[in-house]
């Protein structure tokens, strides 16, 4: 025969409140677990950011680059400044005061940015033209005026360049430039 361990009690069933408690604990565990998981992910993200910052911190600094940007009004301002500080009025006065027979100014152009004045003249012959230029430069230790171009029209209709022979009664033009 064999020994028996008989027990006639009802199989144990947990009461309702125990199941409710288990459910509450399970819900709490799930909540805490999900919260911890989110925080874990956040910590990972922060670690990655920190590593990135460390990497950036350890990188050598790039050489400073100076960006010079020209403003739109720059050229105008420089032009105005050149006009304001230039000596061109005295040069105009020289043109007005100098008069040589056979040389007539026909056009005048002031270029402040380049700091010079261009004068177109008509001349009868080269001797008078050179006399005119000398008169413009008279009394100035450093000559400001110079001949840029001269063109003498001969009667045959062919232009004569500087240094070439001139014909009487022809209309010749020259370009003078004065700088300051």
């Amino acid at each position: 025969m064999k020994a028996l361990a008989v027990d006639l009690r009802s199989p144990y069933r947990a009461p309702l409140w125990a199941w409710a408690l288990i459910g509450i604990l399970f819900a709490i565990a799930v909540t805490v677990g999900s919260f911890a998981y989110r925080k874990f992910l956040e910590v990972d993200l922060r670690k990655a950011e920190l590593a990135d910052l460390h990497r950036q911190w350890n990188q050598p600094l790039p050489a400073p680059t100076t960006v010079i940007q020209k403003m739109p009004y720059d050229s105008s301002a420089r032009e105005m400044l050149a006009l304001a500080t230039s000596d061109w009025p005295s040069m105009l006065t020289a043109i007005e005061s100098v008069g040589v027979v056979g040389v007539t100014p026909t056009a005048l152009e002031i270029i402040p940015g380049e700091r010079w004045i261009r004068v177109e003249v008509e001349f009868a012959d080269y001797a008078r033209l050179l006399e005119y230029i000398d008169s413009l430069n008279a009394g100035d230790p450093r000559p400001r005026w110079g001949l840029v171009q001269a063109q003498a029209n001969s009667q045959s209709g062919k232009p004569a360049v500087l240094g070439s022979a001139t014909g009487a009664g022809a209309t010749s033009t020259a370009t003078l430039r004065g700088t300051w």
Binding site: M1, L8, S10
Partner: protein
Amino acid sequence: MLWAGSEASQIYLSQTRAGVWLKSGTDQVHWLPATSAQDGWRQGIELLRHGGKPKRQRLTVWLSGALARPVVLESVQGLRKRSEAFQVAMGLASETTGLPGPCEIWLDHWVLDKPCIAVAIAQELREAIESSAREEKLHLTAIRPWWGAALNAAVKIQGAAPGLLAVEEADALTVLSGGADVLSGAATYSPRPDPAQTSGLLTRALMASSMKPAISCRATLIDAPLPTADAESTARRADVFPVRLEEIA
């Protein structure tokens, strides 16, 4: 003389009397006459309460063979699982044991195509015990048949050898028989037959099972006050409801 019992306060219930042993009281068992098991249970609870026992104490309930009856579930063709065997045993329990009304059962280790022993208790009695225990805040450590304690005591002496055991209580006679490490026969006679009927019944059982009397035992519940020496032994071993084992002549 052997002893069967446990460590918590204990109540023995039969159809005619109840025995109450308070763990922290005297070592003596209080025997109370009862008109039914439920009446004995109520009186036992009253005694526990009047004994000044605090609530939430542990309590072991022993049932006589008339209240917890063994039944052998023979191998049933088609059964595949223990749960199916449990349902079959529960369905057969009332008819096989003679217990009134629906029954609850305890089923031993069930093995496919092998007989298995079950123990049945009236559903009404178990509910009465458990519900009043809940009301009284008593912790039931177990509800056991007393004949089970007697069987375990006999096995302790005889081992797993084949044999026959007749357990005599006030209201029932339980006869168990089996081979090596197996229980193959179980029957409860309630009310308990008189001595002459019991003798004849055991003789017929021995002849039917072809067993020798030398390996057959009679176990009797001792419900009389014990001699002083035995009482001291009871106190030492914390066993309460003793069993006397003797060979069947």
